[in-house]
């Protein structure tokens, strides 16, 4: 059962129970471009007391450097080598399989930036729209060229998704040797816009699957690749001395539970206590694996227990 991380739990050796922290970003540290109140004081205090804080996010829209800059702007202490967005994991994965060809990216500049840093060639990202012609099929047949050097397709979030991009994605995937990578399979972004639903990468993955029949290698949470990336760079991390802080049961908490980390849910993002209760009461093993050890309304509450926030 989930416990509130209250003063009793806290004073019963909570802080000494871990050496390192994986913290999700969206919904935990910030929402969009605004820091969540108290998050930076808490994260910075954990680092000041010697905890290794590692930033993990399924969001592929920025590179490590861009996230580092965002941390600086919003006041979170960080270093580039402690930031693990899925954009970076794409480059790590391709290096790990000694990939030598070109990458086609249905995604944005975050992925492009990481591929560039890793010296992996890729086709340009950005808008690739359908022209306004009466005969779309003729245009596709005549103008839409594939690059024979492409050997991998990466699907991440792409606000410029278009029909030509979809055609290219599924056409490259016709070749069963073409590597197919998804940064994550989150169907929606969290939003406080009451009237709008904001589709995520998972929507593109499902469209591509319907056409190509292909299932991607998923790098982001709850898949373990992201955690493997971290362990590769920090081989001494012992899961029994770690905790993950997240806002989403199906990604953060599930990854934590399945890798043996302790798990802390904060309620400043996607999941709420009703969802925790549904998972607790479910007979499904996968749902049971989404139940966190602890929860708190916000990271600020941890800061208050630590005495760094009034």
């Amino acid at each position: 059962m989930t416990k509130k991380l209250d003063a009793t739990v806290f004073h019963n050796g909570f802080l000494n129970s871990f050496d390192f922290v994986l913290t999700d970003c969206d919904g935990v540290l910030w929402n969009r471009n605004e820091a969540i109140p108290g998050a930076k004081e808490t994260i910075n205090a954990l680092q000041d007391m010697g905890k290794t804080v590692i930033f993990v996010t399924n969001n592929s829209s920025k590179s490590r450097y861009e996230y580092h800059r965002k941390c600086e702007v919003l006041g979170f202490k960080s270093s580039v080598d402690r930031i693990f967005p899925t954009s970076y994991c794409v480059a790590v994965y391709l290096k790990s399989i000694d990939f030598k060809k070109k990458v086609y990216v249905l995604g944005s500049s975050g992925i492009a930036g990481e591929l560039h840093s890793a010296g992996i060639p890729f086709l340009p990202v950005g808008p690739d729209p359908m022209p306004e012609t009466e005969y779309w099929y003729n245009w596709v047949a005549k103008e839409l060229k594939l690059d024979s050097e492409v050997g991998a397709v990466v699907v991440g979030f792409d606000q410029h998704v278009s029909y030509p991009k979809l055609v290219k994605t599924v056409s490259y995937l016709k070749d069963p040797n073409c590597v197919y990578i998804a940064t994550n399979i989150d169907e929606q972004f969290q939003t406080d816009l009451k009237h709008l639903v904001i589709p995520g990468t998972g929507a593109f993955i499902r469209a591509v699957e319907a056409v190509s029949g292909r299932t991607p290698i998923v790098l982001g949470k709850p898949a373990k690749f992201l955690y493997d990336c971290i362990k590769y760079q920090y081989p001494d991390l012992d899961p029994s001395k770690g905790i993950i802080i997240g806002d989403r049961l199906s990604t953060d908490i599930l990854l934590g539970r399945s890798t043996g980390l302790r798990t802390l849910l904060v309620l400043t993002g996607v999941s709420d206590l009703n969802e925790v209760e549904r998972c607790s009461n479910s007979n499904c093993e996968n749902k049971q694996m989404m139940v966190p050890d602890y929860y708190l309304p916000s990271l600020a509450d941890l800061g208050r227990l630590m005495g760094v926030i009034q």
Copy 2:
């Protein structure tokens, strides 16, 4: 078991066994803008001998009037009221539920044309691209407006599919009272372009489902609504006196079998005899329902049996 429609079958009263013909279009009558050789002679001869020939297509990209014009250009005798594209079925469906609000269309001018003809208000179709801004979310939050009078979403084929269109589609569908219609769920278009795979409406449907959790009312084959539209306009049609000619087992033949029509597969489009054999040998009842009564290499072969083609 499927039989080849050979001279023995033909002379055993084949032509007298039906009064009306439903014929699929793409892959049976034409491919893109070229008539399949012999198709027009055969179709026209069937009409000359008094058969009612009805054109049925899942393709929503043209209105009835536009298909009529295409028939004229390619030499097929037709009349507007015997042409049933899913674009037209959208309008019929909305009339059948006495729909009074506005329609949001993720689709093209074929649907718009039919809604216009039926006097049903709809939001404009065509490109609705994402601008090139660093802050896509802020743009979406600020600029993307919903129309509160929308009460139905139609998803058909849209070569201008874009992120703003996806956001609008799934956001309208947040309202459980918003009617959700799919013209069809075909994942791919048939193509003879060896290197390209051409995604169909089914890809968009799967993306929308992943985000919204909504399942559409499907109008196109193999769903029966298209057939119901025809029966509504031609109430005297007796399925035991009808045949459907198609190129796709999973749409044309399945619809024919499930409505009690005879079924004739032509091999000028999507399905081949290997697929027929796999369906015949399958234990799955749904696959068994895709096995046609007859097959022919092409409509021209029927014309030859009829003596209208050398």
